[in-house]
Amino acid sequence: MHTDPELLALLALGEEVGSEADREHVRSCPVCAAELAELQHVVTLARGAADLAMSDPDPRVWEAIRTEIRGVPTQSPEGAVDVRELAVHARLTPVAAGWSAATGDAELGTDAQGRRVLQVTLHADLPAAGIRQAWLLHRTDPSRRQTLGILDGRHGLWTVEHAIDLDEFGILDISQQSIGSTEHSGDTIVRGELVPAA
């Protein structure tokens, strides 16, 4: 039975604590002796660190990062897609208890040909049966839906025709569907609002 971590911490600070039996254990047990040594090292560093000032990087560094990430493709197993000018994204969250562990994210950008490209990644345990389908729901009337397409496993990649107005159809919905069904099953895995990227 090893020494209580709080006791070791106080010993590392030089406090007179613990029984003789405790101190004997720390002397003879390699695990506790090593932990005590590590804590003593942290104390030494902490004494020296109390006056150590951190420097903030100049705001231009963040600006440079923002510029850089706007044109950067999301990593996906299919390989990078040349998506530029990241415009819109969505954080996808579950709406029903059965999918409570699921999440997803989506990013909409423009490819080299000027087409809008939507990439979706699901983080969920998926059943072996059926397929997953992506929809754009109308922001104020969710009974109005536009199909986007079928996911390939946990990933989806589709062009979004410019005629689809994301100010109207701005809710991304991923549903569990049976193969061959044309209507939304009502079984949404995750959903999220498309919002402008910072």
Binding site: P5, L10, E15, A46, P57, W62, I65, E68, R91
Partner: protein
């Protein structure tokens, strides 16, 4: 949205994967001073330190699909990445840190650990200390200034037992944030 806590690996992964550029901004606000300070002290040059900082956070963003939330200490992971980019920056210019940089002075300390590790340790600790909650932080700083628990109790109105318990808990927290970066390259 409110301030987002991005202290540990799962919070960082959550922010990066779900939060878009806002998520990266929160991670950057919290962690860039540590990366930048390390790069600045190691390289001795503002422009190169800024480049390393930009590289590290851009990489964090582009690789966010593969960041592991299970890695217990985010600061240790981040420092390892920062040290690698700092070494790349050194190799690119053929520069060897001389006595004029803090890295060079640290080598003379004879602590038996290599230069980037010594710097990283001190900065990770300072960063951890400054991000403890205000009251425990103040209590720990007083103990490190060699006040006794009784003196700290008198100054703060806490009981001696609470002082000891807080100090121990803070130290354990700092210890857990800390993993010695392996310099076995």
């Amino acid at each position: 949205m409110g301030a987002r806590s991005v202290e540990d690996s799962s919070a960082v992964v959550d922010a990066l994967r779900g939060g878009g550029a806002d998520g990266l901004s929160a991670v950057y606000d919290r962690w860039s001073p540590l990366v930048y300070s390390l790069a600045l002290r190691a390289l001795g040059d503002v422009t190169r330190a800024e480049d390393v900082t930009k590289q590290v956070f851009t990489e964090l963003w582009t690789g966010r699909g593969s960041v592991e939330p299970g890695h217990a200490s985010f600061s240790a992971w981040l420092i390892e990445l920062a040290c690698a980019r700092i070494e790349d920056a050194r190799a690119a210019t053929g520069a060897v840190p001389g006595a004029s940089t803090e890295a060079g002075r640290a080598e003379g300390s004879g602590e038996g650990r290599s230069r980037p590790v010594v710097l990283a340790e001190r900065l990770v600790l300072a960063d951890g200390l400054s991000h403890l909650d205000p009251v425990p932080q103040r209590v720990l700083r007083m103990i490190l200034d060699d006040l006794t628990p009784a003196e700290v109790a008198a100054r703060t109105g806490l009981s001696v037992e609470d002082v000891k318990s807080q100090v121990a808990s803070s130290l354990i927290q700092l210890r857990q944030r800390w993993e010695v970066p392996t310099d076995a390259h």
